[in-house]
Symmetry: C2
Subunit: 150 residues, 2 copies
Amino acid sequence: MQRTKFGEMACSIARTLDVIGEPWSPLILRDVWVGFTRFEQIQADLGISRKVLTERLSHLVECGVIERRPYDRRPRYEYVLTEKGIELVDLLMVMVGWADKWLAGEDGPPVLYRHHACGEVSRVDLRCAHCGEPMHAGDIDLLPGPGAAV
Amino acid sequence: MQRTKFGEMACSIARTLDVIGEPWSPLILRDVWVGFTRFEQIQADLGISRKVLTERLSHLVECGVIERRPYDRRPRYEYVLTEKGIELVDLLMVMVGWADKWLAGEDGPPVLYRHHACGEVSRVDLRCAHCGEPMHAGDIDLLPGPGAAV
DNA sequence: CACGTGGAGTTCCCTAAGGGAACTCCAATT
DNA sequence: AATTGGAGTTCCCTTAGGGAACTCCACGTG
């Protein structure tokens, strides 16, 4: 299908979607994050079609979210998160927090996070980078920024 | 294309994607959040095909993220966020924070957030819900949870 | 009362993207 | 020389997205 491209919209959500908004991309990012860094590993773990995996990986590399690098003298490559990609993992952590609260069934969450700083099993919470108080949908006003559309 | 459904994976990211992972869904959620609550408004704002908009709205309603309710005695409806949906906006705010840092071009971010609590233009930061310290990709260990796959 | 209006979808056709399996390429290893 | 295994490519088929036209229906308007 001729998918509309989001990258050109003056919207930060659309721009983020342009990077990881396609189906599978967040799961690929997760895999790379948790240590499935090679083509075959990711393909086997996700059950994704090889064609699509190739496309997604190239796109994520182009976007500077992951880096493709050889790990052997044979033509073997692994993918690693860049700084830009590591910060994108924030997004995954928030997804996990939401799903654990609203979608985890009888069994509870499949994965737990233990926070290094306090040693406790915990989850992320959104805070204001300026004052440190909670910052959620109802706690803010939206203002036009410098890059606002004409 | 016969898209693989993510909802059945024992993965909270996949489960979240099952709700808002399809193209356009996060942008629809954003529109509803910022006040484009009617079919025609959202369609015009996003330029999305009416067919797809219908599908996405139904799905979001089914998932309990938005609610469809009449606003007239004529057959007119608007969509409003549920509690579950309001908490999903966290995800959008994190997307915005990431794109504003990594993708905003010359012009800077298109939208700014002013935090009610402190009155400052700010952005979200991820903190540990338990101890309040920063909590990002490198600050945690992953542990199998009760709902882990067999 | 017939007609027009506008919101909210439906329907239809066409193209492009995803799934899946088979195939290729290539540097080691045996 | 033949085999192996990772890393993609290629091909066919199905299905989802884009876009425009069409439907439905409860008002207002003349």
